[in-house]
Amino acid sequence: MKMSVPQISCEQCSSRKKSVFCDLKKKFLEAIDLTKITNIYKKGQIIFHEGNPPLGIYCINKGVVKLTMVGKNGRESIIRLAVPGDMIGYRSLFSSENYLATATALEDSVICFLDKNFIQKTFYEDPSLAFHLIQHMSRDMGNAESRMTSFIQRSAPERIIEFLLFLEKSFGVKLPTGKIKINLKLTREEIASLVGATNETVIRCLSDLKGRGILEQDGKNLIILNKSELENFIATSA
């Protein structure tokens, strides 16, 4: 996919309604427009690196970013996926710690950067930004807690199905046939890392779902044939 450096006004941004900047006053949106740096990160390019100092926050306009951490055994784990409207890098910025994770573009992504000084200055001038940010952080924390509960209480196949439903919600595109195509290419290793399972378990579970006519594959894309069956599986196992 060839992309040129975009000039995106915050007021026109399609992801704004989902971000912490949704209710900011016009004058602050204009100030953001003048300060932000918008760049394209190609698939595989790193936005920030674990262990390095935070420079500001990143707001995703288009694309998908994976946040990974390397464990003591040297194994990389994906801790979350960030999608348009999401903000990344704020935790380290506000805690004045170095980044605990590495952010990598999973596909060509358009990302806006706001520097640390601008964020601090805007907080003083418009406390509503701080309020929205707390809401955003609380949601992220809630998601992290749900994931932790899922890791403790659910089996690996249940977590994989739960993840398929998350993919459907975030990246699903309904086809004319009624099938739902997941518009994100993830490797089996990446799925395994996201759900905390082994590659073999992921392969076995996906094959099982294909065998039962719930899932199919078109190249690297997963296609959900029967969403309600997946939902039932999660509901009955809860």
Binding site: V5, L34, T35, I37, T38, N39, I40, Y41, K42, Q45, I46, F48, H49, E50, G51, N52, P53, L55, G56, N98, F113, D115, K116, N117, F118, K121
Partner: protein
């Protein structure tokens, strides 16, 4: 893209803006991106990368990316900071604040290096510059 600073200029800038330490190799800005900040290298090395090849290795004492940042011009070469480098980060907000404050060391340095005068061509920042003075 790069400007050399004297040891006096480096000292003055370090006093006003604390340096940061990069413990891991990092693509600070990729080729064809607008840098997220300007950088002044105090210790370590920065490589200028073009098409994934090292074009030049920058040693301490240089300021990089400022004009690209302020005029929103994509970099012809990526900036790759090698691990254990120490740099001063100059972000857009700090520079715009420097415009407002003639007594700041940043203002002094930017004027000396004719960086503020290069803003004349950047209408978006020129507007901001006028706003900050109003």
């Amino acid at each position: 893209m790069k400007l050399q600073l004297t040891s006096n200029e480096l000292g003055q800038l370090s006093q006003e803006l604390g340096p940061v330490h990069f413990s891991h190799d990092f693509n600070f800005s990729y080729q064809k991106q607008i840098p997220q900040a300007g950088i002044v290298l105090l210790e370590g090395e920065i490589q200028l990368l073009k098409n994934n090849r090292i074009q030049e290795t920058i040693s301490p004492g240089f300021m990089l990316g400022i004009k690209n940042l302020l005029n929103e011009i994509p970099l012809k070469s990526g900036l790759f900071i090698l691990k254990e480098s120490k740099v001063i980060i100059l972000n857009k907000t700090q520079i715009l604040e420097g415009l407002k404050n003639p007594s700041s060391k940043l203002h002094w340095l930017m004027s000396k290096k004719e960086i503020f005068s290069s803003l004349k061509s950047a209408s978006h920042l020129h507007k901001r510059k006028n706003d900050t003075y109003s």
